[in-house]
């Protein structure tokens, strides 16, 4: 798997906010269909890493490639990259003034220039996939948190991206709604979608991840196949973190 052209590649990426270093010499590769879960304490740079990949944040140094294109070489290239990379936010960020269906079709219509009928067809297909087709005419405020997040996932999928980024997708959810969102994500992983997922849901990570990355202080401390990561964490910091989140 590691031999294929990577969907995403980061080489020695740094990110500074003023004097604060959020990412320090981060390098990673994501192969097609690979599922990577990033974990680590809050403030460790997990979200920053994900946000740099679709350039919601600009990295300060190093190189980032998405689908072979390097980030930072002109504006059209950024929009192309964002079409290839689906993003799911912690706070859902659905458009509250648009219906569920319109939330899904606005990207395909405005950005991918699909015909409206085709966009609606596509939207209904993905709504069915996240099991929420019956809510298509409602507005985001009328849905539960779990339903909103599933709509957000469907919205990203409607752009037919080649990789999905999840930035703590279940952290803002009530506990009873976490599983419905994780189920959708697991199903997506099953279908062969490449994904980078920042999450604290270690059960989900164990089931789904090919590879685990542990970050702390803006650095990748450990990157290992999921099996080995959970059974034999190498670094002391990672072991301590796992002890805390897994409560073993």
């Amino acid at each position: 798997m590691a031999d294929c052209d990577p969907v995403i590649e980061l080489r020695n990426v740094d990110k500074f906010y003023g004097d604060f270093q959020a990412l320090a010499n981060v390098s990673m590769r994501l192969a097609p269909s690979e599922r990577v879960v990033i974990c680590g304490p809050s403030g460790s740079g997990k979200s920053t890493l994900v946000r740099c990949v679709n350039r919601l944040e600009e990295h300060s140094a190093g190189r980032i490639f998405v689908g072979g294109e390097e980030l930072g070489a002109g504006k059209t290239n950024i929009r192309w990259v964002r079409m290839k990379v689906g993003m799911v936010f912690q706070q859902f960020n659905l458009f509250p003034h648009l219906s569920v269906l319109e939330n899904l079709t606005i990207g395909p219509i405005r950005v991918r220039k699909l015909a409206k009928s085709r966009a609606i067809e596509l939207a209904r297909e993905y709504l069915a996939r996240v099991d929420i087709l019956d809510q298509a005419e409602k507005y985001p405020a009328q849905l539960s948190g779990g339903q909103q997040q599933r709509v957000a996932i469907a919205r990203a999928l409607c752009m037919e991206p080649s990789v999905m980024l999840f930035d703590e997708p279940t952290s803002a959810l009530d506990p009873e709604m976490i599983n419905e969102v994780l189920a959708v994500m697991a199903d997506l992983a099953q279908s062969g979608m490449a994904m980078i997922c920042v999450t604290h849901e270690m059960g989900f990570a164990r089931r789904v991840a090919d590879r685990m990355i542990f970050m702390d202080g803006g650095e990748i401390i450990e990157s290992a196949p999921a099996e080995r990561f959970f059974s034999h964490p190498q670094s002391e910091r990672c072991r301590r973190f796992l002890d805390q989140v897994l409560e073993r």
Binding site: L56, R79, W80, M87, F89, N93, F95, R110, V111, P140
Partner: protein, 274 residues
């Protein structure tokens, strides 16, 4: 309670029952009115209220006719509307420059805001009429519209900026994450949501503009206040005419303010849903 005895806290006022305070208030109002009437009486003012209606409307041989004050109100509304449209357009440009990353654009917008907001409106009007007027061959009406438009553009631009700023930043990120350009994101995502924050203060700003439009009477542009001055010059009915004109302004502004308050209320509850 000992906690309420903090120094610098509000001084406890004697509380009266609702009826008692209303009674006291009415008494005070009557007292002031009596003093005013008495004063007018003492200076030998000749009240001629019966002559006022003809300046509002009249029935002549030709049928119903608007009076001078009513026509003046029409002129005031037309002047205000034209100035407001100009203020919206110019305000949008200034707000965009302020929010852009352009160094020069930002500086221009900031300079515009500081100059316009820190000049008295009357001085701005004199600048437009006596200085820019001759230079650019502006007649008094054009100078008045430009002056009001420019003055209120500064206020409008700040309202626009605040309205756009109050839309959750995640909305812009979400729009970008599906590949929208900045222009698309503002047009389809940010501005529609900003409308609910914009409408109430914009209505208030429209009311403010109607009020400040009275100032163009000093350069003799025809509108309601100028009409009032002219009538008084002919009739010496200064009390009646100014009372009437004040009442008409009050009525127009009250209607606008009520509309603004209703909008504010509606959006205050609707805006809370996430």
């Amino acid at each position: 309670m000992p906690s309420s005895a903090r120094p610098g806290c509000r001084i406890p006022l004697p509380t009266a029952s609702g009826a008692a305070s209303v009674g006291l208030y009415l008494l005070l109002v009557c007292l002031v009115l009596a003093l005013a009437l008495n004063g007018a009486e003492a200076m030998g003012y000749n009240w001629q209220w019966y002559r006022v209606p003809e300046y509002l409307f009249a029935f002549t041989d030709d049928g119903f006719q608007w009076g001078e004050i009513a026509l003046g109100l029409g002129a005031t509304l037309k002047l205000s509307l034209q100035s407001f449209v100009l203020a919206l357009g110019l305000g949008a440009v200034v707000a965009l420059l302020r929010m852009s990353n352009l160094v020069v654009g930002n500086a221009i917008a900031l300079a515009f805001l500081e100059i316009v907001r820190n000049l008295p409106l009357l001085i701005l009007l004199y600048l437009f009429y006596y200085v820019l007027g001759p230079i650019f061959a502006l007649d008094r009406y054009a100078a008045a519209v430009l002056c009001l438009g420019v003055y209120h553009a500064a206020l409008v631009s700040e309202i626009l900026r605040a309205g756009v700023g109050s839309v959750d930043g995640g909305q812009l990120e979400a729009a970008r994450s599906v590949g929208m350009s900045s222009a698309q994101a503002y047009r389809h995502i940010v501005l529609p949501q900003a409308m609910k924050f914009l409408l109430p203060p914009m209505t208030g700003e429209a009311a403010h503009l109607i009020k400040s439009s009275a100032i163009v009477s000093v350069i003799a542009v025809v509108e309601m206040t100028t009409v009032g001055r002219n009538i008084i010059a002919d009739t010496y009915m200064s009390f009646e005419i100014w009372f009437t004109i004040a009442a008409v302004y009050l009525l127009v502004i009250l209607v606008l303010s009520l509309a603004a308050a209703r909008m504010e209320q509606r959006y205050a509850t609707a805006g809370r849903r996430k």
